[in-house]
Structures are given as C-alpha cells and as structure tokens.
Symmetry: C2
Subunit: 414 residues, 2 copies
C-alpha cells in the first residue's frame, strides 16, 4: 500500500515535466521505445513464457492463452503501434478557441494533458505498450494495473519502456506498473484521487462494473456492447443479410459485434429464412420471439436474451411492427455502443439516426466499424460507452483536457 502511494506520487511528480515536452522529444522517445521492444524481445518472450507456463498449469482456456501469448510478430506489432502513434499529430498546445469579451481580456482555450491516467486491464500484454504510447504522446503519465496472468510479460515490457525513458532523459515514472495485483491494492488504487486524474478500465463487463462502483476517481467507462441491427420494411434484404452476417460472425468476442436482430413484420418471412441459411455456415444459434419462430424454426428467446451481450455464435431476434417500436426496444436494451438500421427509406434512416441513443449509429453498414482505426483516429485507447468527456472510439484527443490562458492589461472586476 505504501508502494502504491509512492507510485502515485512519482507519477504526479513526472507530470509537470511531461506536460511541457516538445512533440519532437515525445516522438523520439516513442521511436526509440519501438526499437528497444524489438531489440529486447528475447527478454520479453522469456517473461511471457513464464506467464504462459503458469496459465497452462492453471488450466487457462485456449482463447485466453492465445490472448496472453506473445510472439516475435506480436512484439513487432506493438513496436509498429508505437511508431504509428509517433507519426500522429500531437494535440497538446493546440488552440481550440480564442475570443476577446468586452472586458478586453484575451481568452484562449488550449489543449493540455489530463495529467496522470490510471488503466486497469486484463490479460492482453500488448495493451501495456499501447497505453504507454497514447498517454505519453499526449503528455500524460500512466499507472497500469494489469491482470496477474500477464504480470511477468507486463513487467518486462514496462522495464524496456522505463529504460528507454531513462536513456532519453525523461522521468521513468511516465509509466508505472503495479506489481501487486491483489484486489485490495486494486481497490486502494481506485481511491487514489490525490495522484490519479482519470481511471480507464479495459476488459470484461464485471471488471468495468467493479471500477464504476468503487472508484472515487473520475472513470471513463468503456467496452460492453449489446449492439442491434434493425432490418427495416424497406431494406435491401441481400445487403441486410451481408451486414448481419459480417457484424455477427466476422469476430465474435468483440464489443462492436451484433448481438440482436430486429426485423420489421413485413419482411420477416422473406428475410429470416435467407439469413438463417447464411448464418448456418457459421453454426450461429438463433433465439427468437414468437413471430420470428413463425418464419424460421429456432429456440425461444427469453427476456434475459434481449439484454445479453453473448460474445458468441448466438443471435437474438425480435419482430416489430414499426421503426418506432424498434427504436424503443433498442433504447431500452442497448449499452450505448453501436446500433444500425438497414433501409432504403431516407426518412426512416434519419429518424433512426436522430432517435437512437448510442455512441455510433449506422445506416446501411456493419456495427463492426466502431473502432479508432476505422474512424481514422490512428489509434484507440478504448471505446467509451458513457456520455461524459468522450463517447465512442477514443483517440489521442480523449486523453486531453484544456485550460484557459487569459492575457490582460491590468483588468479588475467591477
């Protein structure tokens, strides 16, 4: 616990230094960090092998083991990520607005770092380098609390990054890793308001809920996506089948995958059999309401299905009588992530865009596009499902705040 306090304090002490680093210097560090990750890959792979061995011993599932595994290619991927971040424009110092009210003051709104960012995440060690890259480029210090499963890997990566910082004469405390992965320390970390400005949880819904419920530090909630696609009465049904197939099956374990289908009554008989055939290629299990089951035989959906993010080859299906009913259903059960309508009717498209409450609302496209790279941000620290501060894919700007610089000539308030 004393160690936690010390880590927070050191990060806070690094903050004033990082806040005023030039773009050139930050890019130099990021580029050298990329080089060093590749150069020291044997050390990182050896640490990762210790995590893998422990994971296999514990009987970790194949999917989780794969997420934990590092390879020379994956380390090269981490390095490439840092190089890409170096190539992005630096938002810090940008003038966002400028005006001179009647009092004669010259007021400028300028982008600044958030300060110290805490990140709590689970088993993927590549997040460690990513998070450092994004936070460092935006002049923030970062304190990481990774999962115990990836501890050796994370320690090795952080060591290489801290050595790089030291070699570049920057404070090593720009990145810290909590080596104590106990729940008690995590709980104390969430109350370190004195040193941490923002906490970003990345991982399972239960991890995120634990952070939201226990943190006294401001949190950016990321992640869970119970995403719907609504096939309108005036949809191009072939396009609809392609999009649902893509959004459901292209990658199942991700937050922007489609979990629930809503179909207009008028097209259900033409559409559902065609879709069922397409989804059978991937053995997708369908769970429908009564009217859906009239069109195609499938399991019966329970109330719980409407609110479930399966992250699996399962799709719930509901039939509605109108677009308004579709919108109400979505606004009741969605998690504020990504929602789509398939329609050729412009008025319906506009109604859906306006009325659905989510970070990303699509017309005639797959929900799978909700992603920092696809959105052209060049990088992503996560996808926010809250409305405060940042919504949807978060790029560099989401890691910044602003301040007002006010230049006067002796003004006092009357």
């Amino acid at each position: 616990m004393e160690l936690l306090e010390r880590i927070g304090q050191e990060a806070k002490e690094a903050e004033p230094f990082l806040r005023i680093l030039s773009e050139e210097k930050k890019n130099e560090v990021l580029t050298m960090a990329a080089e060093n990750l590749v150069k020291h890959r044997e050390r990182i792979l050896a640490a990762n092998e210790k995590d893998m061995a422990r994971g296999r011993e514990k009987g970790m599932k194949a999917g989780l083991l794969d997420r934990l595994l590092l390879t020379p290619e994956r380390i090269e991927g981490m390095a490439e990520g840092l190089r890409q971040i170096a190539a992005l424009p630096d938002p810090i110092g940008r003038v966002m607005g400028e005006h001179r009210p009647p009092n004669g003051l010259h007021i400028r709104q300028v982008r600044v770092p958030l300060g110290v960012i805490g990140i709590i995440y689970e088993a993927r060690p590549n997040v460690t380098a990513d998070a450092f890259g994004l936070c460092f480029k935006t002049g923030n210090a970062v304190v990481l609390r990774g999962g115990s499963d990836a501890l050796y890997s994370n320690q090795a990566i952080v060591e290489v990054l801290r050595e790089t910082l030291h070699a570049c004469e920057c404070p090593a405390a720009a990145i810290s890793l909590l080596s104590d992965t106990s729940r008690e320390t995590a709980a104390a970390f969430m109350k370190l308001n004195q040193y941490i400005d923002v906490l970003i949880p990345r991982g399972s819904a239960s991890l995120i809920a634990a952070v939201v419920n226990n943190s006294t530090i401001p949190v950016i909630e990321t992640g869970s996506g119970n995403c719907h696609i609504y096939v309108d009465e005036e949809a191009d049904l072939a396009m609809a089948a392609e999009i649902v197939f893509n959004a459901k099956t292209q990658r199942i374990g991700v937050c922007n995958a489609c979990e629930s289908l809503i179909v207009h009554e008028k097209v259900k008989d033409a559409f559902l059999p065609m879709l069922a055939e397409r989804l059978a290629e991937k053995q997708v299990e369908l769970r429908g309401d009564e009217r859906a089951r009239e069109a195609v035989p499938m399991k019966e959906a329970q109330e719980a299905d409407w609110g479930t993010e399966y992250l699996d080859y399962i799709l719930s299906i509901k039939v509605v009588d109108s677009i308004s009913e579709a919108v109400s259903h979505i606004n009741r059960y969605n998690t504020g992530h990504s929602e789509a309508i398939i329609t050729e009717n412009k008025a319906h498209a506009e109604q859906f865009l306006r009325e659905v409450d989510a970070a990303a609302v699509y017309v005639n496209a797959s929900t799978r596009f909700t992603d920092g790279f696809e959105f052209g941000f060049g990088a992503e620290i996560g996808i926010s499902t809250q409305k405060l501060h940042a919504r949807g894919p978060m790029g560099l700007e989401a890691l910044t705040s602003y301040k007002y610089e006010i230049r006067g000539t002796g003004q006092v308030r009357g």
Copy 2:
C-alpha cells in the same frame, strides 16, 4: 425510496422527447416559464416566507438568510436568466466534425444532450430556475436535490415550471425535485446510474467531497478555489496592488476570490507595505511566512494556511526566490481553479501560463473573471475544477455529449 426510483424513471422516459425538441419549441417554453415565474410570484414569495420563517427560528446566520431570501426583484432576475438562455444559440444538433475514411463511410460527429442530469445543491433557490433553463435548452431532463432549508421555495418554483411544461405539451418530468431531503435519499440518488447520466454538485467543499466520494454516477466536480496571485520581480507594482485588492475584496465568499499571495523576494519590500495599506481599507487579515513578516508586521502563516480557501477577509502571503518556486508552490496547493501572475516580463508570463496547472491561468488580470458570463458563454452551470469533460466555467456546451452518425452503402468489415 420508491419515489426516488419513480422520479428517475420518469426523467428517463422524458429524455427521448426532450432530445429531439426543436430550438423554437425550447425557446417558447423558456420564455413562457419566465413569464409564469413573474405571474405567480406571490405564490413563490409565500413559499419562500415559510422557508425564511423556519430559517429565522433555527437561528440561521444573516448571510445564509440573505442567500435564501426571494424578493420580486430576485424573481424577475430568475425570469431574466431564463430569457437570456432562450436567446443563446442551441448547441444541439450542431455538426462538430465530418470525414470520410477510406472505407467509404460518411462519419459525422453531432452534438446531443447528456440525457438526465442530477444536481445536488444548497440554499440558493435561484439555482432551481437556472439549472432548469440550462438543462432544458440543451435537451436534458434534470432531477434536482436542493437543500432542506429552501424546500418550500424550490417546490413552488418547480411547480410553476412543471405547469408551464404541461401547458406547452412537454413532459413535466423535464424537471423534478426530490422533496425528501434526507441524507439517505441523497445517498441513494448518487447511485441511480440506471436513470441519471451525470451528477453536478454545487455548494460547499464538504457537499462536493461527499458527492465525489459516494456517487457511482459520473460527477462533474465544481467549485472550490484556492486561488493564488504571484507578483513577479518584474511586476508593475501599482497594477499588482489593484488586482490583489480586487481579487481579495470585491466579493469574498466566491470561488474565484484570491486566497493566497506569492511575492518575489526582490519586490517584497517595495510591494508588501503598499499592499498592506490598501488592504487595510477592508480590514484584511494578513498571514505571512518569515520573509513576508520582515517586510510588514503580520500574523505568522501556518502550514494549513497554504491549503485553505478562507472565503473571508484573510490573505496568506509567501515570499519566493524565483518564478519556478512560485509555480511549484501553486501546483502543490491550488485546487485547479484560477491562478494569476502579475509581470511585465513576457517570458515569465508564458512560463507561468504553460506550467501552472489550473482551469484558468491569468497574466495581469484579476482571478475574479473566471465566470461563464465574463467568459462570454451567456450562462453558467458551475465552474469545473476537474479535467474530465469540462474545465473552468461551464456553459451550455458542457451539458452536451456527442454521437457519431455514420451513413454507409452496405459496407462490411474485412
């Protein structure tokens, strides 16, 4: 408690309606609300008299009684506030950015309301109408939890506003007031994540701390201001005395008042006697470190003085050897509100602007200007001292979020 749940639910149900209200309709409601407050002022004044009588009975201090008091003029002021909000441009629906990445999607970032805003505040009943105006103009529902001292007044104001909404065929649940002002209900309110998107506390430092520590809803922290003025070695000393006098004494109970003065060693002997004489006009008590007391006799400052927001005719004074020492002291003890340097040296001014970590950083002006009206926002819901979402004076934009509207032509992810 069931009532609390029902209020949250009704506000959430009003949200989809409010989200798509036209600017014209919103302005019509605000204008009629202003009229009705004036028209029904006798009812509001009678309710206020009940609060005042109870306050006098309880032996409430004169200052607090004055904050609680409503008069015909103060009701006219509330009405005028609503008219001014009606005259401001509506940020909702504004396109913040637009681009077409290589995947051919048309991505638009559009301003939307936050949803349901909770506000916890203390004795000033004018906040009730203000908060409604700002939230309604931005398409948000608002749930208010005012202090028990102003309960009758708040109820009367909210009644008039709800009658107006009803007459305009808008959901009355656009504004609700918790009539149960117990601590238990306040604690439950802070955990109503299902219905409330953001919580804004307005009031004393202890109220704000209680909300930050107990809320699971995202909070925008407002308020407390331990503001410093640094008089540089190259300051215009007459200007410095004017500005310190204004920032310390023009209004003492406000968050942007100056609480602490930092003076460069080289000018302390010329400046402090002159300032002490000026501040004596208002009987300001000075508390200084050893070197300050060499220049002018005054009380000895204790460690606690550096971190205290007096909100009183008291000023702490520290002498430093360099601008860097001043910046470090400020970054250690300030609350992220407003900080000023008085200097004729441009390099010092720029260093101070860059290195001081606060919402508003001033050169040669009084800290008292940190205010939504002075900044030209036309209105203010509070002054944020956190870095997430909004920093400094919060106008209408601080009550909005955004969403991405994405128009495709059948795109799927490869």
